[in-house]
Symmetry: C2
Subunit: 356 residues, 2 copies
């Protein structure tokens, strides 16, 4: 279609994936397929980790929370995510974490995708946990303890089952209504569900223990002596300075795996450890150049904080999955016929701004 | 209007100002009014400069150009701009600089405005030059030499006239078709226009000299001996490492004013000077706690590179100026009835993603 005089050209139009589009995409593909495809995309990018810019995320802290920008690039695509973390938001009926993201072409700097990322982050965070569990948990893992039954819980349960087969869930939250919500949501999906009255009870007999709580403080959501030999821990909720979930005395017992050590040492569970405490980068385990679990008795810990490369993987995956009915074109980039004539474009647009 | 079960609530909807909306706004208010209002907003924020986070912009460099994120906050609002700089883009019919931006509420981390910023950046960059010229040029300045007649040229001409009264324009570009374009665009607007065959000819007799060229290299767009006593220089085009416009030997003759010294020493004309060469922050002149021009014979230089606080000012100004017909609501933020029940929102949405 030839553009009319003042209508934006294709170069000016950026596909936008709204929350409604994202939900429709998940329904169309199925949540487990989405999680499995995201896990595959993330593993592929982790294998080429060193191709990526590993710029630290850029946080703006306030008494109420944090707003972060998380950019990265592989030299072909550039991505960033905008994400907040405001633990008290739920009291006002708002999300603790809301996010959106952008994918751009490095060669021109032009955006090629803008998308909601609240849902996409929930999906990719769960996919990353599941990738870690697939590589670090015992191969016979079947029982998954889920401590913290908030917005991430169902995503974690489904992703870990999709990648490891762990379909027996032990649930605990300090708020029983949160646990009831997870139970209600997951009951139709074929899980074997047990609700527990303490984190320690939930962890008992579990092969995989995921902690995903939201308080912004140094918490102890699980007693150190409740962690048994052979367990794999996903510590998902502790993800910024002053916000941890596990008792520090537990950490020296664990073989610790992280995304990007300079970031995790500041933001992760290991912020309480000396700066030279040994950790293994998860990507090296996936790429096959570092060992993961060394024995069935090891306690492995994936100290997850979330890294820009995971969002990059999710955005490139999404770009390949959207169809014209699952996005809307946004007139985001001014695109004059003559690039040097921005003023002329503005003047010729007239009082209606060139809209028709 | 009460939202239906799965329709996004107001909290989820972020007003989006498209390129067409921005053009309509400029037509509605008038470009000179917009430039003058932006100048007022920028001056007000410069007066409270120390209220702002002055985090450096975050660049991703590539052989073809740069993509940058420019965040800041005053503790109440948070803003960032995404902007690229790809000098070779014009060969492909694309903008050298395209941008969009976001304003958010610090207390919740929720976005409150998403907007095109290619046009808004052109407007705010010109407004900043004009603010500098108002404070640094001789009060009797009437003649403005404009070296570089690309996409920024008309904005600079109009903003500087709006704030200083300089209505006699002397134009030069290495490409005469660019100069012809500016002449064509500005002729109806009451300027007294002279086209020149060299930068030196353009600068002769000028009170204000603006250089706004786009080559990514250390250029010498104006011979040092063409700069006369009493002139005010706006060096707008040199804005990243390796990209300067003025001959280094000119700089020691100038009283130099900058936005944020740590950034300008890396990105501005002064990258060729020793790191301790004295410069004055423009905000201090505006706030009245540092002198500007000391005598009519001074050569003053505003070494403009663009700073996040200027985008913040522009975004807050825009937020106050948009009306329902000049934006569209974007379903950017997932907003479940129960914030802990993101999964339930996703499942209840059904295959159409909750759209109606």
């Amino acid at each position: 279609v030839a553009p009319t005089a003042n209508a934006p050209s294709d170069k000016a139009l950026v596909p936008f994936v709204s929350v409604a589009h994202m939900m429709a995409l998940v329904h169309r593909l199925g949540a487990e397929t989405v999680l499995a495809e995201l896990a595959t995309a993330i593993e592929a990018d982790f294998r080429r980790w060193e191709d990526f810019d590993r710029t630290p995320r850029l946080p703006a802290h306030s008494p109420q929370g944090v707003i972060e920008l998380m950019p990265t690039t592989d030299g072909v695509h550039y991505s960033f995510k905008y994400v907040n973390g405001h633990p008290r938001n739920t009291r006002a009926g708002l999300q603790t974490v809301a996010a959106f993201g952008l994918l751009a072409e490095v060669s021109t700097g032009y955006p090629v995708l803008l998308t909601e990322m609240t849902l996409l982050t929930a999906l990719r965070t769960a996919a990353v946990s599941a990738v870690a569990a697939r590589h670090l948990a015992r191969p016979d893992a079947r029982v998954h303890a889920l401590i913290g039954n908030g917005a991430q819980a169902e995503f974690q349960a489904l992703a870990i089952r999709a990648l490891t087969g762990a379909d027996r869930l032990r649930l605990f939250d300090t708020d029983p209504t949160a646990t009831a919500k997870v139970q209600r949501n997951l009951a139709p999906l074929g899980f074997n569900l047990t609700t527990c009255t303490s984190a320690e009870e939930a962890a008992t007999g579990a092969d995989i223990v995921t902690t995903v709580t939201a308080d912004k403080r140094n918490a102890r959501v699980l007693a150190a002596n409740a962690v048994a030999q052979g367990q794999h821990l996903n510590a998902v909720g502790g993800d910024c300075p002053g916000k941890t979930e596990l008792p520090p005395e537990l950490l020296p017992r664990c073989a610790i795996f992280v995304e990007h050590p300079p970031q995790t040492r500041v933001e992760g569970e290991i912020q309480s450890l000396p700066a030279d405490h040994p950790v293994t980068e998860l990507w090296r385990v996936i790429a096959g150049n570092a060992p993961g679990r060394r024995s069935p008795a090891d306690v492995t810990l994936f100290d997850s904080v979330g890294f820009s490369i995971e969002d990059f993987s999710a955005l490139v995956w999404l770009k390949g999955r959207i169809t014209p009915d699952l996005c809307q074109p946004l007139d985001l980039i001014a695109d004059p016929d003559d690039p040097r004539d921005l003023w002329g474009m503005l003047m010729r647009a007239g009082p209606e701004g060139g809209t028709t």
